[in-house]
């Protein structure tokens, strides 16, 4: 749930989602759910010439399982807090 939690804080920020089919979509993150399905708005695709079919698409819903990477805006991620959250998660799992 850590990543879910992180993504929740990134709503309304511009992120780049790299898909497993090598499509890179940049857009405003509108919402994310526990499966890390992602909804993007006002999207633009990297290398539009290669993906002309995406030119008319303005928003999209991405199934979480097809995402390879998500590039986050560094200024909106608190790395120290992220470390802490990771520690907490590990601690919580240790308890289980």
């Amino acid at each position: 749930m850590l990543i879910f939690s992180v993504f929740k804080t990134l709503t309304d920020q511009r992120v780049t989602v790299e898909l497993k089919n090598d499509l890179s979509i940049t857009g405003v993150l509108k919402s994310v759910d526990q499966f890390l399905n992602i909804r993007l708005d006002s999207i633009s695709v990297l290398d539009e010439a290669r993906h002309p079919h995406m030119m008319a698409v303005k928003n999209c819903f991405i199934r979480g399982s097809v995402v390879r990477y998500v590039q986050l805006p560094a200024e909106h991620v608190d790395t120290q807090l992220l470390e802490d959250a990771t520690r907490r998660e590990v601690a919580a799992q240790g308890k289980r």
């Binding site: 850590l2 990543i3 939690s5 804080t9 709503t11 802490d84 959250a85």
Partner: protein, 946 residues
């Protein structure tokens, strides 16, 4: 007769097949034969020529036997003939079939180049109704005559060609194929072939039957409505008021009627002159038909308005009625005059003039004429409205006796208005169509469907500790809020009683709509969860588990999604033997050494003079382990702080006591883990300094210091000062003076930033409250234990010294203002400080210039003419330090300061004055740097003349 027999057997066969359901098994065969493989292309060849011989073959223009009557359909006047044959009664329902039939011969693409007609129409021939049976029987009767001519290849026999072509049944085609291919054949063969053809045809029919049936049903319904409609129309003509009412009713079925009217018009034109002969198909008709469905909603709206309007009209008409007693007569007259209505409509005003009718009624007549003729119910509404308005005006004009020309102008104006309105209507329709298209999938899921999905999703989100599960979002939100200065509202967690809840993440500072949506969702979730809990109690643990994973599985632990590790090492054994062995070995070694030392001490050799157990410094790994332990403690203690019970609450007295016990315990653990209390000589570097070496060690200090009591922090500070030279940032500071961009330099830079940002920040409050003698002691310690010249050439060193000097300056100011007696240091303490300061000054005296990073950088052997990095920013802390030094210095010391820095200051001032600076910003920085120092001496850069 053979064909009668054939017919009968064929029927039986059909029935049998139908009852057996054998039709479906051949359904997958090709329906259309041309354009497909089974089609041999002979159909095209049939057209080749010889049509001119038709007359000859058929015996010229002489009378043809009854059997051949159907061929008359292909004669130059087929329509008239057909009409004559089939629609003498002109009953609406009956009319239907001829219409369909007529299209059949035209459907043959070979014929006259007409477009292929829908094959579905063929099934009419197979209709079991008595009406269609009649025509089918006629079709079959033709078979023998066909057979008789079969010896002639149809391609060379135009008569047969034309004959075959124009037979309305599709079965003719396969038959003619057979004829073409085999020439003379036996009756059996041909019969068999025909049977096959029959089957094939039936397959086609079967496929089309369903569509056909639907269409038929629809058509029948339409026809029924049509009849009603026509009756109503007649009634309308009889009685205007009644008609108005009917109109309202009709509009409810506007769409269906539209289609009906088209057909009605066609039929009426061709077959039934009796029926409203003035009907004229409008070009607008088709267009409207397309939009019809989409604007139904709009129509309803219109209808309502129209209704009101009509009521008004009615009212007026009633008034009129009273005045005009002749009205009934006129109505009956009207019916007789009906053929003239069209003509009258074209010049209704002339008509009005001629006659003595009420203008309103008259205009109504014109109106209804139009309705009956070219307009659709919807546009009628519009036109009616407009025309009634027009009629009103006209009425007024009439009363005033206005000329025809003016009325004509008015009429043109009205027409223009109508067109305009229609255009607007068109636009609205298009818009409605678009909306309808977009909302195609609206309400595909019902609300309960959505609720169900939400329930499953939410049930998976509910956890025992929502705060911990959603830790990042919660804390990030809190930090963000505090940074924005917002008062933190309630925690963004929905809690359900004591157990479980859902983390909501960041509070959206969005619109009110979103807020209310959130509230709604909260309420719903709460309800859902409570329901789930109730059900769980009822059913045991079944209900929730059944939903678990229904939408897919969440990876609760994110590493599960990580790629499979190549080395699959059992974690439990790894911790014992795999990863930690060297630590335990080292520990063992350490223990052995300690034991040896203890032994030596016991033997009186006194290795560590005052009983200090010397140890090896912490290894990197040990440091990290300790740090991780500290982080866990910090996280725990921070969580504990959040859960702090209210002190005032009496009931929670006990809870508070236990809470503070836990808290104190944690603080104690932290203190122990920081290893501050270990003697200075334990190791080099000291364990505490080792802990500060990694960046995360530096960064944890501010978070720890919050929980550590001030006296302990002072101890910590003392230790830090005592071990100052052991710090990595001091040891490796020389690297920063190189111009080479190396990873090591970058690392030191990063570490230095972290030290200044974290460690110094956490000791700042301690120094800020320290008394003069404490500062004196600390400075003494620093001078004593470190090479102050080296330390002062590091950024942490300069920062530390500046910190001390400024604190003393503040203390001195406090002394002069004499606020609190307790804070005023004794003269002895002041004296001690002065001694210590003199000592510091003495040590640094000959190295003042070297304190500047810029000076040290220039002193470096420059590889090439590498551009110097902007050093003014780096120099700034040094200028600050020197300014602080100057404040404390005596006049002698100040003159020494000035003498040693004279060159540096002059350099800068000269470069500024001569404009040897890149930009305004650099100039400002340089000047402010110099002024920082000069102001402390009571001077200013402007006083210096170069």
């Amino acid at each position: 007769m053979s064909f009668f027999g054939f017919e009968r057997s064929n029927l039986e066969q059909e029935k049998k097949k139908f009852s057996e359901g054998g039709l479906q098994e051949t359904e997958d065969l090709a329906v259309y034969t041309w354009g497909e493989e089974s089609y041999d292309g002979l159909g095209d060849a049939l057209l080749e020529g010889g049509d001119e011989l038709n007359d000859e073959t058929f015996g010229g223009t002489g009378a043809v036997g009854k059997d051949f009557d159907f061929t008359s359909q292909t004669l130059p006047t087929p329509v008239g003939t057909t009409r004559g044959r089939f629609t003498p009664t002109a009953e609406p329902f009956r009319e239907r079939t001829p219409v369909v039939e007529r299209t059949e011969p035209a459907s043959k693409p070979r014929d006259r180049g007409l477009s292929p007609a829908p094959k579905s129409l063929e099934s009419i021939w197979d209709d079991k109704s008595p009406f269609s049976m009649l025509s089918r029987a006629a079709g079959h009767q033709r078979v023998p005559s066909n057979l008789m001519k079969s010896p002639f290849p149809p391609s060379r026999s135009p008569a047969l060609n034309a004959y075959a072509d124009h037979r309305p049944l599709s079965q003719q085609q396969p038959i003619s194929h057979g004829i073409n291919q085999t020439g003379v054949r036996t009756l059996q063969e041909i019969e068999a072939e025909m049977r096959a053809a029959q089957q094939k045809r039936k397959q086609q029919e079967e496929i089309l039957l369903q569509v056909q049936l639907q269409q038929e049903l629809q058509r029948e319904e339409e026809l029924r409505r049509q009849e009603e409609f026509r009756v109503q129309e007649l009634e309308r003509q009889d009685l205007q008021r009644l008609q108005q009412e009917n109109l309202l009713a009709d509009r409810m079925r506007a769409r269906l009627e539209q289609e009906q009217q088209l057909r009605l018009q066609q039929q009426a034109r061709m077959s039934t002159p009796r029926v409203v002969s003035h009907l004229a198909p409008s070009p607008r008709f088709n267009q409207q038909h397309q939009h019809q469905q989409q604007i139904l909603l709009l129509q309803q709206e219109q209808e309502r308005q129209q209704q009101e309007r009509l009521k008004e009209l009615q009212e007026r008409l009633r008034m009129e009625e009273l005045e005009r007693q002749l009205r009934a007569q006129q109505l009956s007259q009207l019916q007789q005059q009906q053929p003239n209505l069209l003509a009258r409509r074209q010049s209704p005003y002339a008509d009005t003039q001629r006659r003595t009718h009420s203008p309103v009624i008259d205009s109504q007549y014109a109106l209804f004429n139009q309705q009956n003729t070219q307009y659709m119910p919807q546009s009628i509404q519009l036109q009616q409205r407009l025309l009634s308005e027009m009629a009103q005006v006209e009425f007024m004009r009439d009363m005033q006796g206005i000329s025809q020309a003016e009325q004509e102008a008015l009429r043109v104006e009205a027409m223009r208005k109508i067109m305009e309105t229609e255009r607007m209507e068109e636009r609205r329709r298009r818009k409605a169509a678009k909306i309808a298209h977009m909302s195609r999938y609206n309400d595909l899921m019902t609300q309960s469907d959505k609720d169900f999905i939400t329930r499953i999703q939410v049930s998976q989100l509910v956890t025992q500790d929502p705060y911990a599960e959603d830790f990042y979002a919660q804390v990030y939100g809190a930090i963000l809020r505090s940074r924005l200065g917002l008062q933190s509202q309630d925690e963004r967690v929905i809690k359900f009683g004591s157990s479980g809840g859902v983390g909501l993440g960041l509070a959206q500072k969005g619109s009110g709509r979103r807020q209310s949506a959130m509230q709604k969702m909260e309420a719903q979730v709460e309800r859902i969860v409570n329901n789930a809990r109730l059900r769980e109690k009822e059913k045991g643990l079944h209900s929730l588990h059944s939903l678990q994973g229904a939408l897919g599985k969440t990876s609760g632990r994110s590493y599960k999604a990580a790629p499979r590790q190549l080395l699959q090492v059992d974690a439990s054994s790894a911790t014992i033997s795999g990863t930690h062995p060297h630590i335990s070995k080292e520990d063992g070694n350490g223990a052995a050494q300690e034991a040896a030392k203890l032994g030596r001490e016991a033997l009186g050799q006194a290795a560590g003079s005052d009983g200090v157990v010397r140890k090896d410094p912490l290894t990197q790994r040990q440091t990290l382990v300790v740090l991780e332990g500290l982080y866990d403690l910090v996280l725990n203690i921070e969580q504990l702080r959040r859960d702090q019970p209210l002190e005032e609450d009496e009931e929670d007295e006990e809870a508070f006591v236990s809470w503070s016990a836990t808290y104190n315990d944690l603080v104690e653990q932290i203190w122990m883990n920081l290893k501050v209390m270990l003697p200075l000589e334990t190791s080099d570097p000291h364990p505490f300094v080792s802990l500060l070496t990694p960046v995360k060690g530096k960064k944890i200090l501010p978070r720890l210091s919050r929980h550590i009591a001030p006296p302990r922090m002072l101890t910590l500070l003392t230790l830090l000062v005592a071990c100052f030279s052991q710090l990595d940032v001091v040891k490796h500071a020389a690297l920063l003076d190189s111009l080479e961009e190396t990873p090591e330099r970058q690392d030191v830079e990063r570490q230095t930033q972290a030290f200044l940002g974290s460690v110094l920040q956490s000791i700042l409050p301690v120094v800020a409250k320290a008394e003069l003698r404490v500062i004196t002691g600390l400075l003494g310690l620093l001078l004593d234990r470190t090479n102050i010249v080296i330390s002062a050439q590091t950024r942490p060193g300069i920062a530390m010294l500046t910190l001390f000097l400024s604190r003393v300056e503040i203390v001195k100011q406090g002394m002069s203002s004499a606020q609190e007696s307790s804070e005023i240091p004794t003269p002895a303490e002041a004296q001690q400080w002065q001694t210590m300061f003199d000592h510091l000054f003495q040590l640094l005296m000959s190295h003042f210039v070297l304190l500047f990073p810029s000076t040290r950088l220039i002193a470096q052997p420059l590889p090439v003419a590498a551009p110097l990095p902007p050093t003014d920013i780096l120099d700034q802390p040094v200028w600050q330090f020197l300014a602080a030094l100057a404040l404390h210095a005596s006049s002698d010391q100040q003159s020494i300061l000035v003498t040693s820095l004279r060159e540096k200051v002059l350099d800068i001032v000269t470069s500024v004055n001569k404009g040897w600076v890149a930009d305004e910003e650099e100039r400002q920085t340089k000047l402010s740097n110099v002024n920082l120092f000069l102001h402390a001496l009571g001077l200013d850069s402007s006083q210096i003349s170069v």
